[in-house]
Symmetry: C2
Subunit: 492 residues, 2 copies
């Protein structure tokens, strides 16, 4: 496969696909809409998962695992949820294959092994989990339940994109049960903060925290909180959601608890999730035409060292000098690879590690060695520095922190430049057709207007920001009164 | 739910179910044959997974993720593999539900959303993975591929048991590709050693390493290596398998590579896996009528401390004394819980942590405090010791090591007492009907005899041990000549 990447200015969408495939993050598969997450991409996901998992545990959650399949009768119990996902459900109808008498060596579905009740492959697990919670909850002493699950889910999508929208994806889904509305609302808000913390401080991607409009709400939720990020093409991407589910699922599955006064009440619920979609966001937010640009805190490999040498003697001298530096880097908790393979030239290696987004590259030749220096290149700005070998491990540690920060600052500046207030319809459309990004505008609060704006301008309400201030204004489309601005964008 | 556990002497199978349910490892679900892995059980699985994952990475493997679904045409490509799993396949035939006009509020499978090609929910992933490897392998430089996947798989089982046999289970499956037969055979053998190391040194469960007879081989394998463990009821359990797949999958999916002489050759393959079934083995190997007995190295919680007090003042004094000890335990890498909750009496707590198999319990009352001692109870032997508080953290650390070792020694002794040579059919049957366990006996090497023995004695050949020595003998059933003993047992 050619390693050439289509420049993003020429075709952003093709640039993204080229990048994901050629950097080894993922591959297409033989299954429609499903992808293969390749080792480099999976390593990135593991790093993200490990950080999130620790954050969940630090906030009192535990992991569990619930069945992949949801019997149809359970799936349809919460009607809005069922309605919202029915069109995307993969359905298991049979439990056996048999030899196909018409095609020797081939198999066919055994018509006699039809399930009495069809099984939906989980698109999300509220139904199967709340059906289980019914058996776990009797009294207020059984609450709260703070459970998370790492799992695969399936949503049959017609148009798919690697990581961004695939039929099967990996995610985590938290499902909590509470005795009071307030506690459940606080949980939903807390987990939104956890997501924002993760995306900003590990993925180096600033987010807007907000509430979804009714039309964009999760099917079955009372309120959906979300974090929204901005990609380099000016389109928005929903990076995580946290739902306050009220008592909807408790009512659908008859989950009641006796409170401290022995009164029976329905249980309050939340659910919250992020998925491998975040990898798509990461790629689109920071990368360039040479390849991935990964934030040091989650990069599978933080530092690569490439020796530049002629003959075994020069290599041995360089290797000897580097050994203690490599140990020191490892002791500092930095992942490092020493690539002294003979099969590729330094220039080829440089390009390869640039493609993979390794944050820091160190190159060292015979003359550098004589001078006691090495060349350090940072992936994000492509700056090169000559650095003394003495103390270079600490230099690199500081540099990794600086890169992490710099990526976040750069993305923040980009977002600031691409967040614009619009006060008229013409202004609104010209911003969207021009520089893109978030457009902050007044909206009359109705689903009808929201739908019309979507049709006319291909932009959706990303969220009503949590920090939106009261401001009298008029809806950009209808001119009706509005008391706060909401955030619009074209979105993934 | 009553916490009473049926004694194992009375009904071993009921004892096992009671234990799994009441200790909070797992729960039944609304989906036939599928279970819910509860937080305590999942934490145990996480600990096991983390150790194994490190072992895989230390032996050069990387993780990746392949689709849940296998198109039928790929599934049937390797005929033996397909034949072996066809009867257990959950099959997705449709991708949409719709409102059921006959039942308002209910959904039905949309007959217009029938898939052109049915999708098998993976019972194992050789087919989808080798179809993918075809695109990854051109030359010997692309080899070896050393990939592992942590995933859920589905095998439709008619009779299910929590952890031991469920329709859906969690596992890891390694899938490697090699340039030579020898390298692939070495890989399969190496991973068997990794499994044996894990099961013996972390799960404290001794295993016999061996090769499966042809009838017991994995469908599609040339050779299946396995580790076999013995449960307390004298039945064997297959704890892990590692398959040398030859070129079967390379041929089925046309995966060739050009060797260093530019000659095209089929690629050699292995696959290997262990699953949540190991949790069932763990429970059955060590536990007793009071509850779980967990090896310290993988126990979710290693030490519980229960203060015994009257009034807040006593509690405060105990807590003050314990604080530095708890920190010290944590510094030693020991997981510890201080249970000072007022809602339960010490005796109730003792029983609860015994049920959960926490390896070490420390109890401390006002008089103990005055004497500068605490009571230490070990879960495995139920011995209680009075121990000086001075240096107690180190005492506990050593005790945890001792418990780990002791569990292994005990299981090894049990196995030694339950491994018997049989030299006649009568002897063979009377051992199986009596004390059970492994029976080492001669067999004529034919599948017919193996099948007859299975029918007559309900015992299967667990393996031909790797360390079986040459020994002239005669088959216990047919009297035909045999040159080594094989290991029989009734098994899970
Ligand atoms: Zn900077
Ligand atoms: Zn001992």
């Amino acid at each position: 496969m050619s390693k050439v990447i289509t420049p993003m200015e020429q075709d952003y969408s093709q640039w993204y696909n080229d990048l994901v495939l050629r950097s080894g993050l993922a591959d297409y598969s033989a299954v429609r809409g499903c992808m293969v997450i390749k080792p480099y991409g999976y390593r990135l996901w593991e790093n993200m998962r490990d950080v999130l998992d620790k954050m969940f545990k630090d906030t009192g959650h535990v992991n569990a695992y619930f069945p992949l399949f949801v019997p149809k009768s359970l799936f349809e119990a919460e009607e809005k949820n069922a309605e919202g996902f029915a069109k995307e459900c993969a359905v298991v109808t049979h439990y056996r294959l048999k030899n196909d008498p018409a095609n020797p060596g081939k198999l066919m579905v055994d018509p006699e092994a039809r399930l009495e009740e069809e099984l939906v492959v989980r698109p999300t697990s509220e139904a199967i989990i709340w059906n289980t919670y019914k058996g776990w909850i009797q009294s207020y002493r059984d609450l709260p339940i703070l459970v998370n699950q790492w799992a695969n889910v399936v949503r049959w999508e017609m148009r798919t994109r690697l990581f961004l929208r695939t039929a099967e994806f990996l995610w985590q889904e938290g499902h909590t049960a509470h005795a009071t509305e307030q506690e459940a609302r606080e949980e939903a808000a807390k987990m939104l903060e956890v997501y924002a913390d993760f995306v900003e401080n590990y993925m180096a991607l600033p987010v807007v925290k907000g509430v979804k409009s009714e039309s964009e709400r999760f099917a079955g939720a009372v309120d959906t909180l979300c974090i929204e990020a901005l990609m380099q093409d000016g389109k928005a991407l929903q990076a995580g959601t946290s739902h306050f589910l009220g008592q909807n699922f408790a009512k659908a599955f008859d989950v009641k608890f006796s409170d401290s006064n022995n009164k029976l009440e329905y249980v309050w619920a939340t659910s919250w999730g992020v998925s491998t979609r975040l990898i798509g966001a990461l790629v689109m937010a920071h990368s360039d035409n040479q390849g991935l640009v990964l934030p040091p805190k989650i990069a599978p490999l933080q530092v690569v060292i490439v020796p530049i040498y002629k003959g075994d003697e020069q290599l041995a001298a360089i290797t000897d000098t580097l050994k203690p530096i490599i140990s020191q880097l490892k002791d500092l908790g930095i992942s490092v690879k020493y690539d002294d393979s003979e099969h590729a030239r330094p220039g080829w290696k440089f390009a390869e590690y640039e493609l993979q987004g390794v944050p820091v590259r160190m190159a060292i030749g015979a003359r550098d060695l004589a001078n006691g220096v090495a060349e350090i290149a940072r992936r994000d700005t492509k700056e090169k520095m000559t650095v003394n070998l003495d103390g270079i491990a600490f230099y690199i540690k500081t540099l990794l922190d600086e890169i992490q920060l710099h990526l976040f600052e750069k993305a923040k500046n980009f977002r600031a430049e691409h967040t614009t207030e619009a006060n008229s319809w013409d202004e609104f459309v010209s911003i969207l057709d021009g520089k893109g990004g978030f457009v902050s505008a007044h909206w009359d609060g109705t689903a009808e207007t929201e739908e019309k704006i979507k049709d006319l301008a291909k932009a959706t309400i990303r969220c009503i920001p949590l920090d939106a201030k009261e401001e009298a204004g008029t809806c950009i489309l209808t001119g009706k009164p509005s008391n706060k601005r909401v955030l619009f964008a074209r979105a993934y």
